[in-house]
Amino acid sequence: SAQRPRGTASALCKPRRLYISFSDVGWENWIIAPQGYLANYCLGQCPFPLTAELNGTNHAILQTIVHSMDPKATPQPCCVPVRLSPISILYYDNSDNVVLRHYEDMVVDECGC
């Protein structure tokens, strides 16, 4: 269907900018680099009908249909990360060794319903 989902484009499920600064969480004295990174997060609605851009699972498509029929009984599907990428962190451990560690799933690249 060419019908656009209800709601404005900005209210739809998509990645939003979130910069995490390690000094904000008090980790600056042991994390060497990066000092922070663009982690992002997912926010927005997953309304009926779910378009391809909203990366909906089959389950989410059915849930939006059921939700449109009875919003009180069934909530809209959640907006969640569907593609994440890794980052590397350079830090000092408790024995003053320098550690470079690769962490999966640290940056939200794409969101979906």
Partner: protein, 230 residues
Amino acid sequence: LSLQESLLLKSLGLSAKPSPKAPIPVPSVLWRIFEQRRTLPAADRAAEDGCSLEEFNVPGNIIRVFADRGHFLHEGQPQGLLCLQKLLYFNLSVLEEDELLTMAQLEVRFSHSSYQPSGQGQLFELRLYQSSPLALQGPSPQGQGRKLLLEQSFAQLHKSLLFNLSTVAKDWRAFGRSLGLVLEISVSSSEAPAGRGLQSPCGSISSFLDTSLLVVSLSPQQCKASRSKR
């Protein structure tokens, strides 16, 4: 907040928030790898296999550089041909139990190289011994309880020498011990001290700086995503 923080630290593979006391400078090899990864385009970063290290061609997602916590047994004036004797001690117990050690590389660094235009750099002999745990506690791990691991002649033309100690480190870790070694550098027996004129026979070895151990390990906890993709 502290519960949230401890959960987050745990998911990052840390049992508690580190509080470094005497941090060492960040080794250039770690900066280089970090920068290479940081500048990768997002698409390449997402496609990267997080469970292997191309730089060393081994499985792994953690690289640690251990500072040497040993002490000198002999330095300064040469004793015969011996210029330097040092106990090297690396505490491998910081590796988590489920981490798989895949590589260990010892670096012996000098503060400067002594390149000689004639190509006739002074020749030295380096010996590395594995020290027994008992010898590590005593004042001098000389003689008994040590096993020769490697022996190499070198002319000090480079700022550092690298040695693969993967097998030794794996063995020691399997027994739950820290890695104790004895490093000896002596003047090559073919270099007669008398023939070097008034120069000290140990010469440029006085520029010995330090040693460190680079260890690569694989934490299966952070490899789940890649495994399921495969």
